[in-house]
Symmetry: C2
Subunit: 371 residues, 2 copies
Amino acid sequence: MAGETEIRELTVELGERSYPIRIGTGLLERAGSLFEECGFPKKSPILLVADESVVGLYAGKLERSLKDAGYSVATAVVPSGEQSKSLAQFNDLITEALEAGLDRRSTVVALGGGVVGDLAGFVAAAYMRGVRFVQVPTTILAHDSSVGGKVAVNHKLAKNIIGAFHQPEFVLYDLNTLKSLPPREIRSGFAEVVKHGLIWDAEFTSWCDRNSDKLLALDDEALGHALYEGCRVKSIVVSRDERENDLRAILNLGHTIGHALEAVGSYNQLLHGEAISIGMVGAARLAAKFGYGEELASETERLLRKFELPVRIPAGYDTDAIMSAMQHDKKFTEGAMVFVVPKRIGEVEIRGDVQAAWVRDIVEQLKGETG
Amino acid sequence: MAGETEIRELTVELGERSYPIRIGTGLLERAGSLFEECGFPKKSPILLVADESVVGLYAGKLERSLKDAGYSVATAVVPSGEQSKSLAQFNDLITEALEAGLDRRSTVVALGGGVVGDLAGFVAAAYMRGVRFVQVPTTILAHDSSVGGKVAVNHKLAKNIIGAFHQPEFVLYDLNTLKSLPPREIRSGFAEVVKHGLIWDAEFTSWCDRNSDKLLALDDEALGHALYEGCRVKSIVVSRDERENDLRAILNLGHTIGHALEAVGSYNQLLHGEAISIGMVGAARLAAKFGYGEELASETERLLRKFELPVRIPAGYDTDAIMSAMQHDKKFTEGAMVFVVPKRIGEVEIRGDVQAAWVRDIVEQLKGETG
Ligand SMILES: NC(=O)c1ccc[n+]([C@@H]2O[C@H](COP(=O)([O-])OP(=O)(O)OC[C@H]3O[C@@H](n4cnc5c(N)ncnc54)[C@H](O)[C@@H]3O)[C@@H](O)[C@H]2O)c1
Ligand SMILES: NC(=O)c1ccc[n+]([C@@H]2O[C@H](COP(=O)([O-])OP(=O)(O)OC[C@H]3O[C@@H](n4cnc5c(N)ncnc54)[C@H](O)[C@@H]3O)[C@@H](O)[C@H]2O)c1
Ligand SMILES: [Zn+2]
Ligand SMILES: [Zn+2]
């Protein structure tokens, strides 16, 4: 049996929609009793939606635990990759839910990374106008996507444009599932962990800096702490602004440039974490325009390099294409150019007065310099 | 110009999601100033979703009023009929919204009956995880569907199975638009008006009884009163139980049998109001099983006949098919057979102890007797 570490628990405070996040090893095996504790009714079938890369490895454990507790479970497999976040895949899952007899008291469980979490979450949000939802994230990046209730699928013209706010009943983060992640996915996931430090917590940022080796080696104890702290920052922000009226936008640090890079690379060159890593360096350089410390950019860059993340725009990316992808990003409300800009490590602000020319300069720099 | 009647207004009380319903003549022409009063931002484009049967008659007036007030409006036309409540049509409208540049502060406006209201409402619920929504109902039945925030599309295996609760910002009910309704749609719409009387208000029920002729002739004054009272009952019920945990289920009077009849008729034989008219007679006959007055059934039947609505199951409907369609209805939570049963005119109760054999008997009666 894999080493047993402490189970860490925290609560996303959202009034009557509050929910716990549990992080530790061996949690899949205990899912059944958690469902019982939460009072999920046994007569209502559960739909388990699993990424095809993880279904063979972990779905069996989860199913067994649920069935042993007396639940009936139907499992639907979703092809790996961003293209599964589509209305077609959504419709197929609704068919599976109907065929499995899911009723208003049923639960949809997502087992996988952000793709399966976002997709299954939208199924849970829309099936019979909303049923229970449980997140069982299996990537490091999904410490971010599984918390906060944003669920969505893509449209051919825009990512995440069709969705809902639908909070899970709980998040079950079994560290054992992360062991099978490809190294590149591991590094990409840490970009969001680092982001949570940079926007909110200087102490945690410096802890990440000191523990990067342990983290990259997936040391259970370090990993548990990092995911706990990442989830904690995310949940504080979401608690204060569930529907992104103001504060929640700080979670987009690095995402304005990052999303543009993903789009220009047709979503198959840079991983999400890699793109926002470059984006965070860009945002840190923007800080200097507002008179914040020059060393912010070099510090940010040094930290991301420790996680073996890219900090320069790869060759072949066209500046005009990047700039125009940014104009289409939905974060530009009413045409104003809005950016999350760091003030110091652990603190950011949302600025609506960012000039496109500055951004273009920085994009050019990040292309020109050798990484 | 069509006769100007008093504008009736009522509020659906839902805390910060409360909204007004305005009923009267000549309201389309005033839409622009209402949008302004509500503070809808002028920079954010509006998507007007119109039923193809009404677009030529009324969309121009609405567009002009909005444009005169300084709004930019894109109009999308939806084919008439239930088959438009599909994910395919939903996806097309998302495309139109993106192409028209709708942002997070934009509004989706539904101009049509329940089909367009439900479809455009789900677009508003899901586009960018939710934008503003305005209902401009053009059928009598839509006094029901435009209030209460239930929005949905159909799946090939089940009606209304994909949806959300998404309340409108307001409902604008222009009586002038009802003048072009086909007579059969008029009668069908009054079935839901009568239903609102039967479940909540004996006095209003008796008023309907006395004014059926004026109503069928679409007399503005009588129509305004009937739609006001229908909306009032609906909004009281929705205010007390927005998400159908308990009370809201009383709105399903006549719908258990009604939905089964619609399904068995492949949704192209009976109109919704016609089906629930028969269903309400069935529910009233069930009342006798619980010791409530025998005259309830004959009274209900007499009233519905005054609105020229069907009160018997047409020839060719198979009892087994009706019974099995009822078992699939999502209102049968966990296999129990739940029915809304009238106690007296103006009061109903939700009973979970209805035996299938009773229902089967009543279905047989409603088939056997000559209407
Ligand atoms: N909802 C939100 O708030 C939010 C936040 C951030 C990102 N996202 C979304 O999350 C998605 C990205 O998430 P992701 O990075 O987890 O991507 P992902 O779900 O595609 O997973 C990455 C890859 O790892 C594989 N995989 C997953 N778990 C594995 C495991 N345990 N072992 C081996 N392989 C495994 C997957 O098959 C996939 O190929 C994007 O669609 C993004 O839009 C959403
Ligand atoms: N959301 C809810 O709470 C709720 C409640 C009840 C019904 N519904 C839904 O409403 C739908 C039925 O609504 P409906 O009866 O309004 O049907 P509808 O929208 O199909 O309209 C009926 C017919 O009248 C035509 N029409 C509409 N307005 C017209 C006008 N002013 N002049 C001439 N023709 C006009 C339409 O093209 C259509 O052919 C169903 O899909 C049902 O599921 C929803
Ligand atoms: Zn991200
Ligand atoms: Zn109805």
